[in-house]
C-alpha cells in the first residue's frame, strides 16, 4: 500500500478529481496548504509598503492506494494538474504500513477502497 501526496494548483482540483474518478479512485483527503517552489510569488503593496508573498496557495491531496493503483493515481493527478507552467506541483509517494477502516475495523488492502 502506498500513500500518494500531491501538491497542485487549487484551480485544478476539480479536474484532478474527475480524472481520478475515471480511474476508479474516489477516496481521498484534501487540505489547503501554502507552497514555496520555483514559482516566485508576487509583490503586494499594503499602505505603501511592498510585501513579498512567496507562499502561494496550493491544495494538498492525500490518497491511500493499493500498489496496483499507484501508477494510475500518479498518472491521473498529472493529467489533471499539468499545464506545463511553473507551479504545477509535485507528487510524493510514501510506503504505507497499515490502513484501518474505523467503521468496520477492517485492516490492510481491504480497508483502503
Amino acid at each position: 500500500m502506498k500513500l500518494v501526496v500531491a501538491y497542485i494548483q487549487p484551480g485544478k482540483l476539480n479536474r484532478v478529481k474527475r480524472v481520478l474518478a475515471e480511474n476508479k479512485i474516489t477516496k481521498m483527503s484534501i487540505t489547503n496548504a501554502l507552497g514555496c517552489g520555483q514559482q516566485m510569488g508576487f509583490t503586494e503593496t499594503y499602505r505603501g509598503v511592498p510585501r513579498e508573498v512567496n507562499l502561494l496557495k496550493k491544495v494538498r491531496i492525500e490518497i491511500a492506494v493499493n500498489n496496483e493503483f499507484v501508477k494510475p493515481a500518479v498518472a491521473a493527478i498529472t493529467e489533471g494538474a499539468k499545464t506545463g507552467a511553473i507551479g504545477d506541483g509535485k507528487i510524493f509517494v510514501i510506503d504505507l504500513g497499515e490502513c484501518i477502516r474505523i467503521r468496520t475495523e477492517e485492516v490492510g488492502e481491504a480497508a483502503i477502497g
Binding site: P10, G11, N14, N32, F42, E44, Y46
Partner: protein, 438 residues
C-alpha cells in the same frame, strides 16, 4: 402639492428665466420659517439615509461574491459615490433639472449656483434649499452605477468600469431623469414614478443587463450542460447590506415626498415597510417551495424586490396594495434569478432581477393600484419602454466602445487568482485561511 418631484425646481428655473412668479406659486399662506426649517431638515435626514445605501450596496455585493474579489468590490463602491457626487455637481444636476427645456435634453450650465434666492424658502416654496435639493438628488445618482457594479462583479476591469460609471452617472442617468423629474416629455404625458422604480432602479438595471451581455459570464459559472453555483463569501455582510438598504429606502422614498408633510411621509413609510415585508414573505415561500430549502440570499433579494417594487407608487397606493405589490415582487425575483441563469446571463448578486425586473413591475403597478385616477397603465408601460430603449442602447454603446478600446474583462488567470491580488495587490482577509478551488 410637493408630491411631484419635478414641479418645484422646474418651476423655479422657469421663473428665473421668465422673470415673474406664476400665480400658482404665489401661495396664499406663506410657509413659516419653522415649516421651512423642518422641511429642509427632513430632506437632509433623507439625504444621509440615501447616502448609507451606498454602504448597503457595498456590503451586499461583497457578501454575495467570493472573498478573492472583495477589495475590488469595496473599491468600486467607494469610488463610485465619489464619482457620482462630483459629476453630479459638475454637470449631472443641471442636465437633470435644466429648467425650461425641449423635454428631451437640456442643460442649465456647469457646476452649482444657488443664485440669490436658492438658499432661502423662496427656492422651493419652503420645502428645501438649493444645496439640499442638489445633494439629495446627487445621492440618488451614484446608485445607478452601483447597481451595475454588482452585476459585473468578479470579472470586470477596474479602469473600464470606472470610465463607464463616470459617463453613465454623469450624462445618461441625468438625461434620462430629466424626461420625468426634470419636467420633460414623459412628465408631460402623465407618466408617474414617485421615487425611481424606473428612473433610478431600471435605469441602473438596463445598464447592468447591457454590460453583462457584453462582458460574458464568470469562468466556471456555466459548463456545457449545467449551471454551477459560485457561492458568496459572507452572508452576514449581505444581510447587513440589505438592512442598510432598507434603512436608506426610508430616505429614498420618504425624501421623495420633497417635504416633511406628515400625511404623505408617514404613508410612504408604511407602504415602503409593508412592501419590503411582503417581499420577504413572498420570496421565502417561493424559495422554500421551489428549492425545498429556504435560501437566505433569495429572501434578502425579496426584501429589496419589494422595496424596488413599491418605489414608483409609494405615495399613491394603499398599504393593502403595498402588500400585493411586495408579494409579487418577492415571488418574481426568485423566478427571475433562475430564468437569467437559464439564459446564461451571469449576475452574481441578482441586480438585474431586483432592480430591472422589479423596477418594471413597480412602475406598471402604479397603473394598476394607484389611488390617483390620472395614472394609466398604458402610459406607465410607455415610460418603461422609453427608458428601456434609451438606457439599454446607451449603455450598450458606451460599454461596447470601452470594450473595443480598453477592453472590459480581466484575463482568465486574473479572474481565477482574484481581482484583489491582480488589480489591487492586496488581500481582503489577511491571515484567514480561505479554501477556494474556483
Amino acid at each position: 402639492m410637493f408630491s411631484q418631484r419635478i414641479s418645484i425646481r422646474a418651476m423655479f428655473l422657469t421663473i428665473c428665466v421668465l422673470g415673474f412668479v406664476p400665480a400658482a406659486l404665489a401661495q396664499d399662506e406663506a410657509v413659516s420659517p419653522a415649516m421651512f426649517t423642518v422641511n429642509n431638515t427632513w430632506m437632509l435626514v433623507a439625504t444621509f439615509l440615501v447616502f448609507i445605501m451606498h454602504l448597503g450596496f457595498a456590503c451586499l455585493e461583497a457578501g454575495l461574491t467570493q472573498a478573492k474579489n472583495t477589495v475590488n468590490i469595496l473599491f468600486k463602491n467607494t469610488t463610485i459615490i465619489a464619482i457620482g457626487l462630483l459629476t453630479y455637481a459638475i454637470c449631472g444636476f443641471n442636465l437633470m433639472y435644466p429648467g425650461d427645456f425641449n423635454g428631451f435634453i437640456g442643460f442649465a450650465g456647469m457646476w452649482l449656483d444657488p443664485g440669490a434666492e436658492g438658499q432661502t424658502s423662496a427656492y422651493a416654496g419652503g420645502a428645501y434649499t438649493y444645496y439640499t435639493d442638489f445633494l439629495f438628488q446627487a445621492m440618488f445618482a451614484a446608485t445607478a452605477a452601483t447597481i451595475v457594479s454588482g452585476a459585473v462583479a468578479e470579472r470586470v476591469k477596474l479602469k473600464s468600469f470606472l470610465v463607464f460609471s463616470t459617463i453613465y452617472v454623469g450624462l445618461i442617468y441625468p438625461i434620462a431623469g430629466s424626461w420625468k423629474w426634470g419636467g420633460g416629455f414623459l412628465d408631460g404625458k402623465g407618466f408617474y414614478d414617485f421615487a425611481g422604480s424606473t428612473l433610478v432602479h431600471s435605469v441602473g438595471g438596463w445598464a447592468a443587463l447591457a454590460c453583462v451581455i457584453l462582458l460574458g459570464s464568470r469562468v466556471g459559472k456555466y459548463s456545457d450542460d449545467r449551471v454551477n453555483a459560485i457561492e458568496g463569501h459572507s452572508m452576514p455582510l449581505a444581510t447587513i447590506g440589505v438592512f442598510l438598504l432598507w434603512l436608506g429606502w426610508y430616505g429614498f422614498n420618504g425624501g421623495s415626498v420633497l417635504s416633511a408633510d406628515p400625511n404623505l411621509v408617514s404613508l410612504v413609510f408604511v407602504t415602503t415597510s409593508i412592501a419590503a415585508a411582503a417581499g420577504i414573505i413572498g420570496a421565502m415561500f417561493t424559495t422554500w417551495t421551489v428549492q425545498k430549502k429556504p435560501d437566505l440570499s433569495m429572501v434578502l433579494n425579496g426584501a429589496l424586490a419589494g422595496l424596488v417594487g413599491i418605489t414608483a407608487g409609494a405615495d399613491t397606493v394603499s398599504p393593502a396594495s403595498a402588500v400585493i405589490i411586495g408579494l409579487i415582487a418577492g415571488i418574481l425575483v426568485v423566478f427571475s434569478v433562475r430564468t437569467f441563469d437559464k439564459l446564461r446571463i451571469d449576475d452574481p448578486v441578482g441586480a438585474i432581477s431586483v432592480h430591472l425586473v422589479c423596477g418594471i413591475w413597480g412602475t406598471l403597478a402604479v397603473g394598476i393600484f394607484s389611488t390617483n385616477p390620472e395614472h394609466s397603465f398604458i402610459i406607465q408601460a410607455l415610460g418603461v419602454c422609453c427608458y428601456g430603449g434609451f438606457c439599454f442602447v446607451a449603455a450598450f454603446l458606451v460599454f461596447g466602445l470601452i470594450k473595443i478600446t480598453m477592453g472590459v474583462r480581466v484575463t482568465e488567470e486574473e479572474e481565477l487568482t482574484g481581482l484583489d491580488i491582480e488589480e489591487h495587490g492586496m488581500e481582503s482577509y489577511g491571515g484567514f485561511q480561505i479554501f477556494a478551488t474556483q
